[in-house]
Assembly symmetry: C2
Homo-oligomer: 76 residues x 2
Amino acid sequence: MNKVIFYHAGCPVCVSAEKDILKLIPENQVEVIHLGEDKTKIIDAEKKGVQSVPALVLSSGNVLHINFGASIEDLK
Amino acid sequence: MNKVIFYHAGCPVCVSAEKDILKLIPENQVEVIHLGEDKTKIIDAEKKGVQSVPALVLSSGNVLHINFGASIEDLK
């Protein structure tokens, strides 16, 4: 089964959302990627349709943008 | 245990997010409220901090606004 990917950038909105998400979804089903620390993954995230963080990319390919921490453009 | 409340208004963004959310969270832990059909609950949702739908209100009181379907003001 494909994992859900949670993209974030370490901002307060992201960290708060991450805690909430990891309470809802079993931790072994979520891959957490910190785009602020790993900028090589930004292109990947964009290709998946991520426009802002925090965001959750589902195995279906759907992207759930959760609240608003930062635009992906601002992370580059 | 308090349930998570998923507020939506039947718009395409909401319906798509609802399907995704219900795949991630066990259905018996989520209460789904359609604010378009039950306008008396709009005030309730606002008090909980919901600013737009679809949104997920967690048992912690945190509100996760997911993508953007409609502003709560527009539902009134």
